[in-house]
């Protein structure tokens, strides 16, 4: 179990956060840049000393500001993957990986480094310098180096953000298997909720130095505790004013016209959140409401973005919103910019958060 408590003033940021991560678990901290995610990793690794804090890994206390205990970074067994990977430019790939292996004869270090590189399919690049490697190769060398000391904790800072979209898919699969194998507590930091949802067993959303909500990715996406979380998790956020409606539902008059119903209870100014994939699209004038869905907004398609086998549609109704449909549906409906449609979703898929 990794336990981190930290309280620090860092420039304009007041960091105040608590993390508990079990072995084999990956806590993904997601949030905008400047939210204090990396600072929390640095506190854990001993690279940043908070004013008040506690870091405990299993039975070992790495930091306790109460007792003044502060174990230096080199004696905390953290496998830290830095954002730009921080490979030593003057050393070859295998020498980078062998760097943490001290106190063993050179031949043995060399063999172990090659083994680790082999695990990531990089043996043939053992002699290469970091600057001749591609982004994905660098990431794997850095990962091999971070694992060389058999760390008790894995700290991953934006492990995928320096990679191009194609490499990212294989790299994230690789990362997931590394975390499974190491089965130590992992803290991963990212500014991308999708990445956090994919790699984290739990996700913590950070904003201005605090973890504002923590839960499984689907918990966060379906029950955001604030407009910030809803927005960050990729849900569409509309604003309006709520009042009690018919048959126990809440009716929200949207700013700019139109109204939607929700099964959540609320009153006064609210944010209305709905996930893009909950919204169905029907061509305009297709005959009005027929199904169970209660919410209908007339909208115009303003952008069409392909994401693999699906399409994200930018829509303008009274307020901008986004919908996701399959590529096949988009073709069938002839969705293109300027097309007028009706966006439909269920009151049960509509979350309300007080503003």
């Amino acid at each position: 179990m990794l336990r981190v408590r930290a309280q620090a003033r860092l420039g304009g940021l007041g960091l105040e956060a608590a993390l508990d991560v079990a072995p084999g678990e990956c806590l993904a901290l997601a949030g905008p840049s400047g939210a204090g995610k990396t600072s929390l990793l640095r506190v854990t690794a001993g690279l940043l000393r908070p004013e008040r804090g506690l870091v405990r890994c299993g039975e070992e206390v790495w930091l306790d500001t109460e007792t003044g205990r502060d174990v230096p970074p080199e004696r905390r067994r953290c496998g830290y993957l830095f954002q730009e990977y921080a490979l030593f430019p003057h050393l070859s790939a295998w020498q980078n990986v062998a760097y943490p292996l001290r106190g063993t004869p050179r031949r043995q270090r060399r063999r172990r480094a090659h083994e680790l590189l082999g695990r990531f399919g990089l043996e043939r690049l053992a002699e290469a310098r970091p600057r001749t490697l591609s982004g994905g190769e660098r990431q794997r060398v850095a990962l091999a180096r971070a694992l060389a000391r058999r760390p008790d904790v894995l700290l991953l800072d934006e492990p995928l953000s320096a990679l191009d979209a194609r490499t990212r898919v294989s790299a994230s699969r690789e990362l997931a298997s590394v975390m499974r194998e190491a089965s130590v507590p992992t803290v991963l930091v990212t500014h991308d909720f999708g990445e956090a949802a994919q790699l984290g067993t739990r996700v913590g959303i950070m904003d201005s130095g605090r973890v504002v909500q923590e839960g499984t990715p689907s918990e966060l996406a379906s029950m955001p505790s604030s407009a910030f979380v809803a927005d960050f998790t990729g849900a569409v956020v509309l604003t309006g004013s709520a009042r009690a409606g018919e048959s126990g539902l809440t009716l929200v008059e949207l700013d700019g016209g139109g109204h939607v119903a929700s099964t959540d209870a609320a009153k006064g100014p609210v944010g209305v959140s709905v996930h893009p994939w909950e919204i169905t699209i029907e061509p305009e004038g297709s005959g009005g409401p027929q199904g169970s869905a209660q919410n209908h907004l007339a909208a115009e398609v303003v952008s069409v973005t392909e994401i693999g086998n699906r399409v994200r549609l930018g829509l303008v109704a009274c307020q901008p919103l986004a919908a996701e449909v399959t590529l096949a549906s988009a073709k069938r409906l002839g969705l293109s910019e300027g097309k007028r449609v009706t966006a439909t979703w269920k009151a049960a898929a509509t979350r309300l958060v007080a503003l």
């Binding site: 640095r42 690794a45 001993g46 690279l47 230096p72 970074p73 080199e74 004696r75 905390r76 953290c78 496998g79 830290y80 830095f82 954002q83 730009e84 921080a86 030593f88 430019p89 003057h90 760097y99 943490p100 001290r102 310098r129 600057r131 180096r145 971070a146 060389a148 000391r149």
Partner: protein, 267 residues
């Protein structure tokens, strides 16, 4: 520069002037002296002695500068502490001191009647008019060149490399030796070259502080000055030798730097 031929030719003219002005006097030394005179000056005992003394004192001074200056520059580059700006200014001060003033300053500090003179004498250390005094003078005038460069070199190394080294189990001392120094190497080499050049050509401070005694404190530049009054040709020949030695050192530094894998690719 396309479309602005006037400006482009102005740049070319400026560079041509600079090259001509800087190389002509150096070339003139060789043209005037001639190979015969240069070789025969090397046959002269006192000239060889002066050259040897120059190389010896410069090497010792450089060793001191590297040993003390490298960690000092690292500290200046990586730590912030109150009065850091003042410390940096103090360290750079000898750069702007006229060499004669540097010599006077050394006399006032560690000369026989200087503020530390008595203490040193009590310890049996004599600097002025001794070879050790030459080393002190060279170190004093040349070290700021190295410190400045080394500090800039350390400051430009990506700090996450140091962080990475620490999380990989290396203490700060080990990280310094294994990561920071190699990463800063191009800048450290450049600083060494500057300090070396300044030290090999040192004249004023050495003359004022250590004097000009053949075989003891008379380095090559002092020997050249010594001959200048009596035997211009000999001065010229010795100058040519000094230029050749300096150019050789400068060239080898450039080669080392050029072959350094970090070179311009250093992040």
């Amino acid at each position: 520069m396309k479309g602005r031929p006037g400006f482009a030719s102005l740049l070319t003219v400026a560079l041509t002037c600079a090259i001509a002005f800087l190389t002509l006097p150096v070339l003139a030394i060789f043209l005037d002296a001639g190979p015969g005179a240069i070789l025969s000056s090397l046959g002269e005992e006192s000239a060889r002695e002066a050259l040897w003394l120059s190389l010896e004192t410069t090497s010792i001074a450089l060793a001191i500068i590297l040993l003390v200056g490298t960690p000092a520059a690292y500290l200046l580059a990586t730590r912030s502490f109150p009065g850091r700006a003042v410390v940096i200014t103090l360290v750079e001060l000898p750069l702007v001191l006229p060499p004669a003033v540097a010599g006077i300053a050394l006399l006032a500090a560690v000369g026989p009647s200087g503020i530390l003179g008595g203490t040193l004498e009590g310890l049996g250390v004599r600097l002025s008019l001794e070879t050790a005094g030459v080393v002190v003078a060279l170190t004093f005038v040349a070290s700021p060149f190295y410190l400045r460069q080394a500090q800039a070199a350390f400051a430009s190394v990506d700090r996450t490399l140091l962080d990475a080294s620490r999380t990989l189990g290396a203490s700060e001392a080990r990280s310094f030796a294994r990561v920071m120094v190699p990463s800063a190497m191009p800048g450290l080499v450049a600083g060494t070259a500057l300090a070396l050049g300044r030290s090999l050509g040192e004249f004023g401070a050495t003359l004022m502080f250590a004097g000009s005694f053949q075989g003891i404190t008379q380095t090559a530049p002092l020997a050249i000055y010594d001959r200048f009054a009596t035997d211009f040709d000999a001065a010229l020949a010795l100058s040519a030798v000094l230029v050749a030695v300096s150019a050789g050192i400068l060239l080898s530094v450039k080669l080392v730097q050029g072959s350094e894998p970090l070179g311009d690719a250093a992040r």
